[in-house]
Amino acid sequence: MVTPPDSITMDTQGSNVVLQDLKLRQINCELNPLTRSDGSALFTQGGTCVLTSMLGPVEVKSQNLNIEKAHVECIYRPKAGIPTIEDKLTETVIRDTCESALLTMLHPRTAIFIQIQELDDRCGIEACAINGACLALLIGGVPMKFTIAAVHCIVDKDDKVVLDPDHCEAIGKRASFVFVFDSLDKNLVTVHTSGRFRMGQFNDAECMSRAASQIIFNFYRRIISNFHNKSLLTADSKARNTEVESVVKSEQMDI
């Protein structure tokens, strides 16, 4: 009775993208590793790993108070040291992306906090952080319009578009893209690019990412189903940990 999101539709006209090429690195996730936040997720894509947590709706500072909608704030912590200017940019991108997915007008005069701790960056940390943040928001149960999936893409040194590369493939990259899609019609929510590329390459990358985002949406659905079929919020930490393990094991994904 629930209509799943539209199946993968790909416009392959004028591009040399082959469907079989769509491979993302292995995705893994552990839900609620943190006990005191309202929702948290340990999310890995290949070697890239982030720990995300969310808090909200909670009390808001008076300078951020908005009578129309909730104030959304994102805190991004790099693996070591204090956040740099670049991290601040990432933070803003994640914040704006998440805000567009959240139904902030349902909780006016409150704040929703998203914390992201980078654990390991083997390329594609921004996409990984957005996906992790989306999972944390889902677990936290704040109302959302749709789910979001971010896919990382690069133009490598041979001028080829590569989907979700690892750090070895990304050496000498000419450009990198992060595309974020919504789960309704796979519309673009966010694009973040850097480097030099041709318009054709951009279109190829977008096309591939759009098709690949379905993998992430399927993953969300599976992990949320598992979560609700077997809740992990047990008080007994021993039982909890073994359960988490089994869930994580069953969540191994070969695409």
């Binding site: 936290g140 047990t234 008080a235």
Partner: protein, 229 residues
Amino acid sequence: MTEIVLPGDRICAAEELARSKKVILGPGLRRENEQVIACKPGRLHHKEPNTYWVDNHQQRYVPVKGEAVIGVVTAKAGDIYRVDIGAHDQASLSYLAFESATKKNRPDVNPGDILYGRLIVASRDLEPELVCVNSSGKKGKLGVLMDGFVMNCSLNLARLILRENCPLLRELTKEMPFEIAVGLNGRIWIKAKSQRETIALGNAILAAENASYEEMPKICENIGNILFS
């Protein structure tokens, strides 16, 4: 009727039913023009004849009018007490909202006290407001909770315990005598004869989160056996 929905999923069954009669949409669902769309992830439930809702594992309490909650008095400010109920904002509680309280006869409530109250105002634009009396001015089960122990649990567990057909409390009473107050904001107050029994009770309740109705009597029996053997 148990399937998992994610935000953005359309609920076609509810839309179809809406063509012939009125449909009630519970938490987690909203209407956009003619479409019914889920806005929270969780299990979709349907209750005959026409109610739909999504059951999700939210941790943070969002006040709802008419719900009974457990709060901690944080401050006394003029005519009102400020009560922390775990929501985004502190609730206010008038000192006249107690049984037989008058302007001269103030209730004895101090910061740090635990209260069991009912929300009478819970709008997204207004501060939540608590009362400790029912509509006829009697305190009923509401009011200050003396002694005992308060523990936090998930909102899901609080709702589960209060469900009519849940056997947990019925089974626990067979093992030992105790008092309990369950707030829908995910706080449970328990008072048993000894600390040992309180801890055992707390563990039994928290362990029930993942148990099915059939397993609950077993958990309770186990706790009883450990305690009194």
